[in-house]
């Protein structure tokens, strides 16, 4: 069973941070807090799908001199310490020039999958083919604008799991989930051939519990990124992550 499948055999708790933004032990703090999938962001100068929190994280990371090689080094370092699934989150431009080489290196470093946020499946045939050959999951994103037919296509095109970005706009913490979240997740699940993880704006324990009642996984990003921006210690991040990931009901 792949590491991703293992995470989704339980409820997947997916945690995002940008590589090179603060100490890489932050990732291990999230694992210690119960994250069973790490989403590791590759910084990009023009992250149009992201809100301010992740934009600033990517700016900090680039200022620290984070290169693609450095990101892969961080993946290797984390892989040496844990067996949770690792997904690389990226924009297309930093990897497009050496796509095949990059994917091989990512696999070798210990990544299990890749999510290219600005590569819709119309442009992604080559990526899918390479990922299949190399043995990486290729995570597709479904959005509130995606029709049922498109959700089905996305879940056929993608592999590993389907990421449902549950609101319009960009990433960033929000206080509330959309009102119709349960029915929307059920709708996505109905048309998806893959397990469904839900993210975008998830930033407290109530939201996590409400999502995990229906979805197969839950993604938290900007909330953790904001903690890193505040220079919390690893153990503080671990404590916060434990609280936010705490699941009230018996896991499925």
């Amino acid at each position: 069973m792949s590491r991703i499948d293992k995470a989704f055999a339980l409820k997947a708790k997916i945690a995002y941070l940008t590589a090179g933004d603060g100490d890489s032990d932050y990732f291990m703090a999230l694992v210690r807090a119960g994250a069973n999938v790490l989403e590791i962001g590759i910084p990009f100068s023009d992250p149009v799908a992201d809100g301010l929190s992740i934009q600033l994280a990517m700016e900090r990371s680039l200022k620290n001199g984070t290169s693609i090689a450095k990101v892969l080094e961080i993946v290797r370092e984390i892989r040496a310490q844990t067996d949770v699934a690792i997904i690389l989150f990226t924009y297309f431009n930093p990897i497009q020039n050496n796509l095949e080489k990059f994917l091989h290196e990512a696999k070798e470093a210990g990544a299990d999958g890749i999510l290219v946020v600005d590569l819709p499946f119309e442009e992604g045939a080559q990526l899918r083919f390479l990922c299949d050959n190399i043995g990486l999951a290729q995570i597709a994103v479904s959005a509130p604008s995606s029709s049922p037919e498109r959700i089905e296509q996305l879940s056929t095109y993608g592999s590993g799991f389907l990421y449902y970005a549950c609101r319009k706009g960009t990433t960033g913490t929000k206080d509330e989930l959309p009102e119709d979240i349960v029915s929307r997740i059920n709708e996505v699940k109905k048309h998806s051939k893959l397990p469904v993880a839900v993210g975008f704006g998830v930033s407290n324990n109530n939201m996590v519990n409400k999502i995990l009642e229906v979805a197969d996984g839950c993604v938290i990003g900007s909330y953790f990124v904001n903690q890193v921006a505040k220079n919390v210690t690893s153990s503080e991040l671990e404590q916060l992550a434990k609280e936010v990931f705490h699941v009230n009901t018996v896991e499925g």
Partner: protein, 576 residues
């Protein structure tokens, strides 16, 4: 959808096919084919194919094994296509690194074929269910290919006779038309739709509305009437004799006067077109980005007239250097949002506009200001700006009795230039020259010269030439002109660059300012700093133009907007 074109017989056509977007170019060596090529010719075709960015396929029909190996070696072939039983039987003996395109029939497949690497090819037969990627082939042409794709869902299409003018002779126009038909979102290897999933359905909605609403006679008549009665089209074509004399007097210089248009630049052609379309789509709010502020003012103007809400994103650096335009936008009722992220210029304004649209696409239209961004924007903006070239071409011909020797325009994102070049693309005897911002000179970061210092990449929804680091991070650009200060260029320009139809060069700040001064003093016309780059190029390269030739320059906008920043930086004092 992969595109393979087979039976190429000369290097020029092979290269054109490759840079226009063919993924594979196939060569035939067997004398059973009218498209047979000699080995020496094949070497030249293979080089040209690779130079254009496509993969060479060796197509084998009835060759002896040694003969085939010799060809593979001579041409350094990585992909072979195997047709008849004789050559298909070599399959097991081939170097396992070779990628095989195996022509399938009803016999079992050889066991050494690898679905992770190889393709099947179904020629005139219905594809069977398979884990292999596959091409379909068999008299495909522009009239039947879409139906075949919809029926058989192949990974690629294989073309030969469908793009020939006569037996064995490929017609490059048919090749490019075919590729455009399959990939309307692309210009050769450039363009596309690289946006988050969220924006894909809104882009499809826009594409559909553009293809239906904007192509109707009623829409065109309404827009033309506005362009005539509201913005003052057609704009004048002015011969500037004093200017020409002051730079040596050897060429005649004609300016297409987009500076005389309402709001002072060509941008209004596009803003009115898009806002009219948006209104007919039922959108109530318009988002725009702006660099020099000309597109912002044009969009704010169109919104005021059509009764639409307007939000313009503008980099803080540009807000400071284009103050009059900011005031104008506010007076016109637009909300101007200052963007402070990144380099706080046009690139960052586009980022913010895209983020807004991702939130608001249901009620809002993103009125992109240049021939940039994801499909259908580059096409739509070029269409709305084509009025410049269509008018100028006729005016010039009526005045001079011939086409110009050369057409020169500045290239930021590339909308004024594609607007005027478009009318001349098929007139191969007219030289087309695009002038980028040379800033302070050579060196990444000192300019916005994408074709001199950039490499292909993906930014703001399309693949094009970008100023970027080796790791794909976009670098800061520099130009005195806000409208040219941008790290990417429209995808059609990238294609025109690669096929060699347009020559791209740069003019520095200094050259632009010199032209700015000369045109004011000799003709009483204040050009925008953007347009001054086109004139600056002409002045510096005047020796390249034959004596007595006529040159058409697109004066894309007027320069009033630039005066405050020139005053505050002290530059104006040096000019007066």
């Amino acid at each position: 959808m992969l595109i393979k074109i087979c039976g190429l017989t000369n290097p020029t056509t092979a290269k054109q096919a490759a840079i226009n977007g063919a993924d594979y170019v196939g060569l035939l060596f067997s004398n059973v084919s009218p498209r047979q090529v000699s080995i020496d010719n094949a070497v030249a075709i293979a080089d040209a194919t690779r130079c254009g960015g496509a993969e060479v396929v060796g197509i084998f029909v009835d060759e002896e094994f040694d003969e085939m190996l010799e060809i593979i070696k001579r041409l350094n072939i990585q992909v072979v296509q195997l047709h008849r039983d004789k050559v298909r039987s070599y399959c097991t003996k081939l170097d396992p690194k070779l990628q095989i395109i195996y022509v399938a029939d009803d016999k079992p497949l050889p066991t050494n074929l690898d679905p992770k690497r190889d393709f099947l090819l179904f020629e005139n037969m219905v594809p069977f269910k398979t884990q292999f990627r596959y091409f379909i082939a068999g008299a495909l042409d522009i009239t039947n290919v879409q139906e075949k794709i919809n029926t058989y869902h192949p990974d690629g299409v294989d073309l030969s006779s469908g793009v020939e003018s006569s037996l064995g002779v490929k017609d490059i126009k048919k090749v490019t038309d075919f590729i455009r038909h399959i990939r309307p979102e692309r210009y050769g290897r450039f363009g596309g739709r690289y946006v988050p999933e969220l924006l894909i359905p809104p882009l499809f909605e826009l594409e559909k509305a553009y293809a239906t609403i904007a192509k109707t006679d009623i829409f065109k008549q309404e827009l033309n009437s506005i362009l005539k009665n509201y913005t003052g089209r057609p704009t004048a074509l002015t011969e500037v004799k004093n200017f020409a004399n002051s730079i040596g007097g050897k060429v005649r210089v004609f300016l297409k006067r987009e500076d005389l248009l309402h709001t002072g630049a060509h941008k209004i052609n596009n803003s009115l077109g898009q806002c009219l379309l948006a209104k007919k789509m039922g959108k109530t709010r318009i988002i725009g980005e702006t660099g020099a502020g000309q597109h912002g003012v044009a969009t704010a103007t169109a919104c005021a007239m059509f009764g639409l809400e307007c939000v313009i994103y503008m980099g803080q650096v540009d807000i400071e250097r284009q103050a009059p335009n900011v005031t104008k936008m506010r007076l016109l009722g637009a909300k101007v949002v200052s963007v402070t992220s990144g380099s706080a210029t046009l690139k960052d304004a586009v980022n913010e506009a895209l983020r807004d649209w991702a939130e608001s696409y249901e009620s809002s239209h993103y009125c992109l200001g240049s021939a940039l961004g994801p499909h259908p924007f580059p096409k739509m903006v070029a269409d709305f700006q084509s009025v410049i070239g269509n008018e100028a071409k006729k005016q010039f011909f009526d005045t001079v009795g011939a086409n110009p020797y050369a057409v020169i325009a500045c290239v930021g994102g590339g909308s004024n230039s594609i607007g005027i070049f478009g009318a001349y693309l098929d007139d191969l005897d007219v030289a087309l020259i695009g002038v980028e911002a040379g800033g302070t000179g050579r060196g990444l970061g000192n300019n916005a010269a994408r074709f001199s210092e950039g490499t292909p990449g993906v930014l703001h929804g399309s693949r094009s030439y970008l100023l970027q680091t080796k790791d794909g991070q976009i670098v800061d650009t520099y130009s005195i002109s806000a409208g040219l200060d941008y790290a990417a260029v429209g995808p059609q320009h990238a294609n025109l660059f690669e096929i060699g139809r347009v020559k791209y060069d740069m003019a520095t700040d200094k050259e632009a300012l010199n032209a700015f001064r000369i045109l004011m003093r000799t003709e009483g016309i204040i050009p925008a700093l953007e347009s001054s780059h086109a004139l600056g190029y002409l002045i510096s390269h005047i020796d390249d133009f034959p004596d007595g030739s006529s040159v058409l320059v697109n004066l894309s906008g007027r320069g009033d907007k630039d005066l405050p920043s020139l005053i505050s930086s002290g530059v104006l004092e040096c000019l007066v």
